[in-house]
């Protein structure tokens, strides 16, 4: 048998009908994650056609995008941004009840951002196919699952048949050699990678991240890297499962138990690209060269080490992006005054991210005039963080500690920045208006976000980490 890539192994194991010149493959889906924004029209379609769910037991829903991050008032009323947002949430509750889908709603101790709770519950496992009506489904690739975002029509396909019509993607190996320097993290790495290969560098491909620097990452960090694969245009990102993966999954509510665990791990160990497997493309990245990295334009490919000068615009679109951001060519982003700092989103809202931010903030204060929002990714993260007292570190520093949700990552729940404000954000998209009309987004790591909050300007977190350690 010829050598296979990890992607090919997972793909092959899920082909119900192979692709032909005229027809795409029918691909079986192991886990379907659902949220309130991209599912209502799909449920309506099922209702109109008189269909039921093919596998409600492989479908998991949560509320995250339109949900308020301020707590309910004394009467239990939640401060929704609009009546429509509330109606959308109610609609998902109704749909889940009617179609028998397990929903992690307001009353669930596990509610949270869809890409945070899947792994947390152990529902995300190596070798699975996972889809969601959400492009950051690529996050789950950190476990060696083939995970990708789909549109609402396809959400309907999966609800009704547990399958999708798919053409096989090409493969792109990104080898990250060496080790990341101290104080430089996964977010810096992935921004650096997108800066290198471009926002369309992965189009049509599934990326497999490999190499020593990837193997050294924790699961949380791997999720941060895979999460941003879509920002390079890739269908999905993958990392081969290893001991780090197994240790992280063991004992989670939905992970296999007992003898089944051993059988699962034995299978998971086979999920790596074979020696001699051929990728359609390969790219090499030197981890040692990565520095604290931020974006300076209006897409994630416009990323650069914060101490390096912003490059000149190469065309009218880049010029417009720089003008929108008020970024000055020839000047570094470091030192740019900051109005808002957001720590959260499926990219960076897990416990380790909050610890990273807290490490910088402990004993310090958010600069005068800067608003800082910390939004945990899930109820579980919130509980764990509060158990460690991280929330007190944040509130003592003057930051707001919120209820889990997508919040200012997508700014559709009322958490948003004002026109012209500069936001240092740990989320994944710096598109024009993404965090509020006219808002200027600078993507960064949690450590950079926290350091910038303290300095009131975009700041190198390494300076703050050394002080904290001393």
């Amino acid at each position: 048998m010829s050598a296979k890539t990890l992607f090919e192994k997972v793909w092959d194991a899920h082909v119900v009908a192979p692709e032909t010149a005229d027809t795409p493959a029918i691909l079986y889906i192991d886990l379907h994650l659902v949220h309130e924004v991209t599912s209502p029209q799909a449920f309506s379609e099922l209702r109109e056609r008189g269909l039921r769910l093919r596998r409600p037991d492989r479908t998991l829903a949560t509320l995250d995008h339109s949900t308020p991050t301020l707590p309910a008032d004394a009467s239990g009323e939640r401060p929704y941004a609009t009546a429509e947002a509330k109606a959308q949430v109610t609609q998902l509750e109704t749909n889940c009840r009617e179609f028998g889908v397990e929903l992690h709603g307001w009353d669930s101790a596990d509610r949270g951002i869809v890409h945070v709770i899947g792994p947390e519950l152990g529902a995300t496992q190596p070798g699975m196919t996972i889809v969601c009506g959400d492009s950051h489904t690529s996050t789950h690739g950190a476990f060696g699952a083939l995970a990708f975002g789909i549109g609402t029509t396809e959400v309907g396909h999966v609800l009704a048949t547990q399958c999708l019509l798919q053409r096989k993607a090409k493969t792109l190996a990104i080898h990250v050699d060496g080790a990341l320097p101290a104080g430089v993290g996964a977010k810096d790495l992935v921004l650096h990678i997108i800066g290198e290969i471009g926002v369309d560098g992965g189009t049509g491909h599934v990326i497999e991240y490999r190499g020593a620097a990837i193997e050294a990452l924790s699961m949380e960090e791997r999720m941060t890297v895979c999460n941003m694969s879509i920002e390079a245009g890739a269908r999905a990102g993958l990392i081969a499962p290893d001991e780090t993966t197994f240790a992280w999954l063991k004992g989670r509510p939905r992970a296999p138990q007992g003898a089944a665990w051993d059988a699962a791990v034995a299978y998971w160990r086979t999920l790596c690209s074979d020696e001699g497997a051929v990728y359609d493309r390969e790219v090499r990245i030197d981890a040692a060269k990565v520095r604290p990295t931020v974006t300076y334009g209006t897409h994630p490919g416009m990323a650069i080490a914060m101490d390096k000068p912003v490059p000149a615009a190469r065309n009218a679109v880049e010029k417009r992006a720089l003008d929108y951001m008020k970024s000055e060519p020839g000047k570094p982003m470091q030192g740019t005054p900051v109005d808002v700092v957001f720590v959260g989103s499926c990219t960076n809202s897990r416990l380790s991210d909050l610890r990273e931010a807290a490490r910088v903030l402990r004993g310090r204060r958010v600069a005068e005039g800067v608003r800082m929002l910390v939004v945990p990714g899930s109820e579980a993260v919130r509980r764990d963080a509060e158990r460690e007292g991280l929330h007190q570190v944040f509130t003592a520093a003057g930051a707001e500690w919120r209820v889990p949700g997508c919040s200012m990552c997508i700014a559709m729940n009322g958490d948003l920045a004002q026109p012209g404000q500069l936001v240092v954000s740990t989320s994944n998209r710096n598109f024009e208006g993404r965090q509020g009309k006219g808002a200027r987004t600078v993507l960064a790591s949690p450590a950079t976000a926290a350091a910038s909050a303290v300095a009131g300007r975009i700041a190198d977190p390494r300076e703050y980490m050394t002080e904290a350690a001393a």
Partner: protein, 214 residues
């Protein structure tokens, strides 16, 4: 879906590269539970001024761009969020085809499933079209060419299944359902393996869902 064989229209041009789906329809409008009526929100933050009037700087607000059903867009159109609201909004706005040298995967997929022609062209042809807004084109889906006013033709390739579905108005969910037996057989076989691999039997799955009946 209605079959689509030909589209005839003048072109409108949005030359910016990397026009993301947040720009096509901003996230704050995604609280809708419908797919209809999104055309008025299409390109909202680009198209209107603060007072709600039309932004004269938005290329599609130019008189000659009004009513154009073919959009020539800068490279990597539709990147970012997977929201299908983007093709819904474009279609409702009146766009029936997007021509581009590169179109983001999820957007292209979503577009074709809704009968919005997402057509990828060579860079040279794409550049030429970007430089010649307002020309009359006929897109022939069956023969896969674009007819130029001077009689010239630009060839393109659609994924064969997508083309078949467009031409015949095939309902893809219906197509999947026709393979129901195959899918059932796959699931039965897989459930046995899943019990070993993922450590849970179908019965356990059922009991986990006890009390929730569809």
């Amino acid at each position: 879906m209605k079959p689509i064989t030909r589209i005839h229209s003048r072109t409108a041009v949005l030359a910016d590269e990397n026009i993301d789906t947040d720009r096509i329809i901003p996230a704050r409008f995604l609280t809708t539970t419908e797919r209809a009526g999104l055309g008025k929100l299409c390109f909202n933050d680009w198209r209107y001024q603060a007072d709600g009037s039309d932004n004269p700087a938005f290329p599609l607000n130019q008189p000659q761009a009004r009513g154009c059903a073919i959009l020539v867009a800068g490279r990597n159109f539709g990147c970012g969020s997977s929201r299908e609201h983007a093709p819904w909004a474009l279609l409702d706005y009146g766009i029936q085809a997007v021509l581009c040298s590169e179109i983001a995967d999820i957007f292209r997929n979503n577009a074709l499933k809704n009968g919005l022609l997402a057509i990828v062209l060579d860079e040279a042809e794409h550049r030429w079209l970007l430089e010649h807004p307002g020309i009359e084109l006929t897109i022939d889906v069956r023969e896969q060419y674009i007819a130029l006013p001077d009689g010239g033709r630009i060839r393109f390739q659609l994924e064969p299944f997508a083309r078949h579905c467009l031409l015949n108005g095939v309902d893809q969910l219906g197509y999947l359902q026709q393979h129901g037996d195959l899918i059932d057989a796959f699931i039965r076989e897989r459930e046995d393996r899943e019990a070993a691999i993922h450590g849970r039997t179908p019965q356990q799955d059922q009991s986990r869902l006890a009390g929730v009946t569809p």
